[in-house]
């Protein structure tokens, strides 16, 4: 498991757990981002926000928030 903030663009991952504070996991869930969802990182700005896609929808996530979302790479992974 790695934080979403460390995933490289183009990579597909599955959300495992959201270590959010009050309301964060509910907020994400309402937007369709909950444990078990498969998302793809579209682009990142180093230490800045990243764009992820989930079934056609695009979301901008702040870096701090991306750090709190733990994900598991799926498919062929190429983490060195």
């Amino acid at each position: 498991m790695i934080p979403l903030s460390m995933v490289r663009p183009g990579e597909k991952v599955e959300i495992v757990v959201v270590n959010g504070g009050k309301g964060l996991s509910m907020r994400l869930a309402a937007m369709g981002l909950y444990p078990g969802t498969i998302i793809e990182v579209v682009s990142d700005a180093r230490m800045g926000p990243l764009i992820i896609s989930r079934g056609g929808a695009r979301f901008a996530l702040g870096f701090g928030m991306a750090h709190k979302i733990l994900v598991r790479p799926i498919g062929e992974n190429n983490y060195g």
Binding site: V17, G23, A30, S43, I51, G56, R58, A60
Partner: protein, 679 residues
């Protein structure tokens, strides 16, 4: 007609439109009611509920368009507005507008609204986009699963609207069965336990009890305060905590997650049943992604944003210029013709002066800028509709975050370029109260279209070769100041973490011509109305004060207005414009910033060289620039002050007025004094 139907007709049934941001709610609203509400392409276009009505088969139905929300927690003001209306407004039906190409997430909100006990109609909107993505949806199955009517629509093309209307009429006659999700025996046991506890305390709620308890288990503690149970808050929280601990032991995960999983479990099961997916079609890199790769690139993002802004002002200026010239000539001709005609039919001199010097010269000097204003709104509409606005917020997030503001604050700030009033309201989409107030406080620093005439006039007189750059510099100055001021206020008033950014980025869409022109015209006609009321009143008052006391030379320093201006002039002297006319213009600019120009038109209108001539005699390029900076900053107009008060309180409103006066003056003085050393 039976009795029940008659009752419905007497009461005038109300239906509410709810749905995720960008699901096409406002388009549905427009199609239903024949209204022309503005439809944007960024999350949070509707921040206030809007009302309209339609008639069908002899029924008259009220329609309320609620703000777009993802859920019904009390996370931000727009969500609270939506939820409270469903609970307290007791609409006869709630149409949940669903983006069919994003079924799972959209159904999540539908589930919450169903749990709230509303009489729901599901509207599968944008069904064409779903089809293009290769999704086939079995409407019958969805309908029978939830036991609610389901309609398919394509709102932008007006498809399915008749069917929706028929369905609404049918639905409001029926009382639906309660909708209940079975959360499994562990969670159900705790729901039961907490419900019993609340009942034993004899609480009465505006929300359904079961829904309230589920929200508590979801960790929405805000709802205790909202239910006005603060006297029981500690006790309730204690009980909820007990339940949560028990559940965590039994389920192995916290109840929030279990509840989410249960809901999505239901939705995913349903989707598996009802949706056929031809794989592969939506796998490709979409055009949106390709554009995003460039405009949100970490190195290119900010330069591209600045380039777009710069192009905007070039366009507003260059395209507007010839038309402005024509309108200028027209008012010139009008003033001369009318005064000649009035003289020839023997109308007294003072009426001629009122019409020529006061109304035509004052109002005309403002109205000539209509083309610039329309063009600016045109560009803002295109940026909004295309979906770029949300990207601008994304691109600026890192910078904004580093400076203590929220990335999302950037959208209201850009909207402030149009008019500060809706921009202040758009801050409602910010989840954190502190972020919201902070953003509201700096919005008056965004150059609204009312300030544009001041820039255009002064830039064209003093900087004819680089008008675009000069105006651009003022807009950028506004943004830079906003960021600095926010940073300072944050240090003083709001020592907190900025709420993290989560924002949906809508797909890029080709802006619809019709929508853009509606938007442009709406704003343009607002400007005309303003010209016909508040600005007109302003220039007439200035004319009267310039003509009195009786016998004084019009607009001389002995007139009332001259004396008023003379009091202010010494204050403005260090900034380079210490003459009474500037004092008067700024003083009346408080009413509306356009009046600054209107006032110059009225007091200078009589002079031989006309307005531009008079200005070039009284200002230097340097003092012209410091005057523009002063006009940018010095005080929010009355309408903006009003809306800041409404959205916050007098304390923050007072701060907004106070800091802008001080900051405007200091900056104008600094620019003039430092500039003098070099020029």
């Amino acid at each position: 007609m039976d009795r029940k139907e008659r009752i419905i007709m007497d009461k005038k049934p109300t239906v509410a439109l709810a749905g995720n941001p960008n699901s096409g709610k406002t388009s549905i609203f427009n199609e239903l009611t024949g209204s022309r509400q503005y439809v944007g392409n960024w999350p949070g276009v509707t921040v206030e509920k809007k009302e309209g009505r339609f008639s069908w088969n002899g029924y008259e139905i009220n329609v309320v368009d609620l703000p777009g929300t993802y859920s019904l927690t009390a996370y931000s003001i727009d969500e609270t507005i939506a939820r409270d209306f469903i609970v307290e407004g007791q609409p006869d039906a709630v149409i949940v507008v669903i983006d069919s190409s994003n079924l799972a997430r959209n159904l999540y909100l539908a589930l919450e609204i169903l749990e709230l006990g509303a009489n729901v109609i599901l509207d599968l909107n944008m069904i064409d986009e779903a089809e293009r993505k290769g999704l086939k949806i079995d409407v019958e199955k969805i309908s029978s699963f939830f036991d609610v009517p389901v309609v398919e629509t394509v709102a932008v093309a007006g498809k399915g609207i008749q069917h929706l209307k028929e369905t609404i009429i049918e639905a409001i006659k029926i009382k639906r069965n309660e909708f209940k999700i079975d959360y499994g025996k562990e969670i159900e046991r705790e729901i039961e336990y907490l419900s019993e506890f609340l009942k034993s305390k004899g609480v009465s709620l505006k929300f359904p009890l079961r829904w309230f308890v589920i929200k508590l288990l979801e960790g929405d503690t805000e709802i205790i305060r909202e239910a006005k149970l603060s006297n029981l808050a500690d006790e309730i929280e204690e009980k909820v905590q007990e339940s949560k601990i028990r559940l965590e032991k039994q389920l192995g995960s916290d109840p929030e997650t279990s509840i989410i999983e249960k809901r999505y479990g239901i939705i995913e099961g349903l989707i598996k049943e009802c949706v056929e997916r031809q794989v592969g079609i939506d796998e490709r890199l979409t055009i949106s992604d390709k554009i995003d790769k460039i405009v949100t690139n970490k190195y290119l993002g900010i330069p591209i944003f600045l380039l777009i802004m710069w192009l905007t002002f070039q366009l507003v200026f260059k395209l507007g210029e010839p038309i402005v010239g024509i309108i200028e000539l027209f008012f010139d001709w009008l003033g001369k013709t009318i005064s000649l005609w009035f003289t020839s039919i023997g109308i007294s001199e003072w009426i001629i002066s009122l019409v020529r010097d006061g109304i035509i010269s004052g109002l005309g000097s403002v109205l000539v800028f209509l083309p610039n204003i329309l063009l600016l709104f045109l560009v803002i509409s295109i940026l909004e509709d295309s979906g770029y606005m949300a990207r601008a917020a994304f691109v600026m997030d890192r910078l904004m975050h580093a400076l203590g503001l929220h990335g999302k604050s950037f959208i209201p700030m850009i909207l402030g370029f149009g008019c500060n009033v809706p921009a202040v309201m758009a801050c409602r989409t910010l989840e954190s109260e502190k972020d919201r107030i902070l953003t509201i406080l700096v919005i008056p620093l965004m150059s609204c279209t009312a300030r544009l005439p001041i820039y255009v006039l002064f830039a064209s007189v003093f900087f004819p070769k680089s008008q675009g750059w000069i105006i651009f510099s003022l807009y950028v100055l506004g943004i830079v100041l906003a960021i600095i001021v926010a940073r300072i206020f944050k240090g003083i008033f709001f020592k907190h973490e900025v709420a993290p950014l989560i924002m949906e980025l809508p797909p890029y869409r080709l802006p619809q011509l019709k929508g853009i022109f509606i938007h442009m015209w709406e704003r343009g006609s607002q400007f005309l109305k303003k010209a016909g009321s508040i600005i007109l009143a302003g220039v007439v008052v200035i004319w009267i004060l310039a003509s009195l006391p009786l016998g004084v030379e019009y607009a001389s320093s002995e007139s009332f207005i001259g004396r008023l201006g003379s009091i202010l002039a010494p204050l403005l002297k260090p900034a380079g414009f210490g003459f009474w006319q500037a004092g008067v213009a700024l003083f009346f600019g408080l009413v509306a910033k356009e009046v600054v120009i209107g006032a110059f038109g009225t007091v200078y209108g009589v002079e031989e060289a006309g307005l531009t001539g008079a200005i070039s005699q009284n200002f230097t390029p340097l003092s012209a620039y410091s005057f523009m900076v002063m006009s940018l900053i010095y005080i929010p107009c009355i309408a903006t002050i009003g809306v800041i008060k409404r959205e916050t309180n007098w304390k923050w409103t007072g701060l907004a007025i106070g800091y802008s006066l001080v900051l405007g003056w200091i900056l104008a003085v600094l620019i003039y004094q430092i500039g003098r050393l070099f020029l």
